[in-house]
């Protein structure tokens, strides 16, 4: 694959880099920034973000969304998924996203249910 074949835009064309090397450094800066935000939030844990949203603390949702954002840029720009054909991309990404989402949903649902059973006092562990 020639160097010219790289797509050099990120953020839907908001930033366009002049060369592939430049894009790599740009993505590094972005990823470091996201990690820094995560660490700062993890250390300070702002009070307003501790409210429950859809069964989980807002802070945890932010962490998970930022993680997926990081995963996206690692896959798309470091692993050059952006430059692969759409069919290869879909084979890899859709398969894993669907299966993982399904597995996570099933297991977390079950885990939450068992927690309820424990909580209602059917099993005693505090003695």
């Amino acid at each position: 694959m020639a160097a010219e074949a790289h797509k050099l835009e990120i953020f839907r064309g908001l930033i366009k880099f002049k060369s592939n090397t430049q894009k790599i450094w740009g993505v590094l800066i972005f990823l470091s920034l996201v990690t820094a935000i995560e660490v700062a939030l993890g250390i300070f844990k702002p009070e307003i973000l501790l409210v429950e949203v859809l069964g989980m603390k807002a802070l945890n949702w932010i962490f998970i969304i930022l993680t997926v954002v990081k995963a996206y840029y690692i896959t798309w720009d470091f692993m050059h998924m952006r430059d692969e054909t759409a069919s290869l991309r879909r084979m890899v990404v859709w398969t894993s996203v669907f299966l993982i989402a399904y597995l996570v949903f099933i297991l977390l649902q079950e885990g939450g249910y068992i927690e309820q059973v424990f909580r209602r006092g059917f099993v005693k562990s505090d003695f």
């Binding site: 470091s32 660490v39 692993m79 054909t85 890899v92 894993s96 993982i100 505090d126 003695f127």
Partner: protein
């Protein structure tokens, strides 16, 4: 060697091997499929971790109380070291992708330098993980386990955790480690904790400012801290053994499952990193002796690069689910 370079004489023959399906070489496509399956393996582990965590939502340890160490510095610094590890791994991902880029330009000198830096980053990461494991296994404070298997931490009046060695009072001991040479030859047991429960209890009763932090969460990401009188009652009626450090059966941080998942998932990831370093070293020497120069393509660097980025990708998730959430 021609077969690995992809261009064959069968060009334009759809079923003769000349056309690349999906515009990728065989090797790269298979690396993608391997990564997909490996991602599912890791997802299985992390989902199982999530299951146990939801199941024991109340008694799961808070990462900030567990991973607080930074090498060469004493004190309580949660997150700092693991953020450093994350940064090292992202950095080595960057040098890897720069090596791939230099390979596209057939620039042997640059590929060599960047591959070397990638290996270096990988080694620093594995070393950091070894440190993380060591401090985790050794433990710092020690804790009291209840009859039901819950963990009680001992705090001083200011809410800082205190190590057992700082307050335990020596008592008469009638129990020593059973080794196979001392008794029945086919049984033995592991190392006993440095302090017995009676010594810890005596020390706790003698120090009126010590209190107990239970394993149960009190809402907003904190564990319940009992008053002095409640603490005394808790430790006298429920306390049974002393736990120091962590292994697969006991750990001083919380439920044994927590340590099990920690060892298993970070261990499996560390194993992947080690394999990645090994592959990188092989590629590095191939670059040095000019294998890819002769072959006319640095695609091998790209394939191993895909694996290396994947390892970084997994770490991003491990970082979130073990240390942040």
């Amino acid at each position: 060697m021609d077969t690995t370079v992809v261009k064959t004489s069968a060009e334009n023959k759809r079923w003769g091997g000349g056309t690349e399906p999906l515009n990728t070489s065989y090797g790269k496509m298979m690396m993608w499929f391997f990564i997909t399956s490996d991602a599912l393996t890791f997802a299985g582990f992390l989902a199982a971790y999530g299951f146990s965590r939801f199941k024991f939502a109340d008694i799961w340890p808070i990462a900030d109380n567990v991973f607080t160490h930074v090498p060469f510095i004493h004190g309580n610094y949660p997150m700092i070291f693991v953020a450093f590890m994350t940064f090292i791994l992202i950095m080595s991902s960057v040098t890897m992708v720069l090596a791939v880029d230099a390979g596209h330009h057939m620039n042997k000198a640059k590929v060599t330098i960047y591959m070397f830096l990638t290996i270096l980053g990988g080694l620093i990461f594995v070393g950091s993980q070894a440190y993380e494991w060591t401090t985790f296994i050794k433990g710092e404070y020690g804790a009291v386990a209840t009859n039901g298997g819950n963990i009680l931490h001992i705090l001083d009046g200011d809410g800082n955790q205190v190590a057992l060695k700082d307050f335990a009072i020596a008592q008469n001991r009638d129990r020593e480690q059973h080794e196979s040479k001392k008794g029945v030859w086919f049984t033995s047991e592991g190392v006993l904790p440095n302090y017995t429960f009676d010594e810890v209890l005596a020390g706790f009763e003698a120090n009126p400012d010590l209190v107990v932090r239970t394993t149960y969460a009190s809402g907003e990401g904190h564990k319940t801290i009992l008053s002095r009188s409640e603490s005394l009652k808790e430790i006298q009626t429920k306390g049974s053994t002393v736990v120091e450090g962590a292994n697969l059966r006991h750990n001083e941080y919380g439920p044994p499952l927590f340590a099990n998942y920690f060892f298993f998932i970070t261990g499996f990831h560390g194993f992947h990193v080690s394999v990645g370093i090994l592959l990188n070293i092989i590629i590095f020497f191939n670059v040095l002796v000019g294998t890819y120069e002769k072959r006319g393509s640095y695609e091998m660097v790209e394939k191993v690069g895909l694996y290396w980025h994947f390892v970084d990708l997994v770490w991003v998730f491990v970082f979130t689910f073990f240390y942040l959430v």
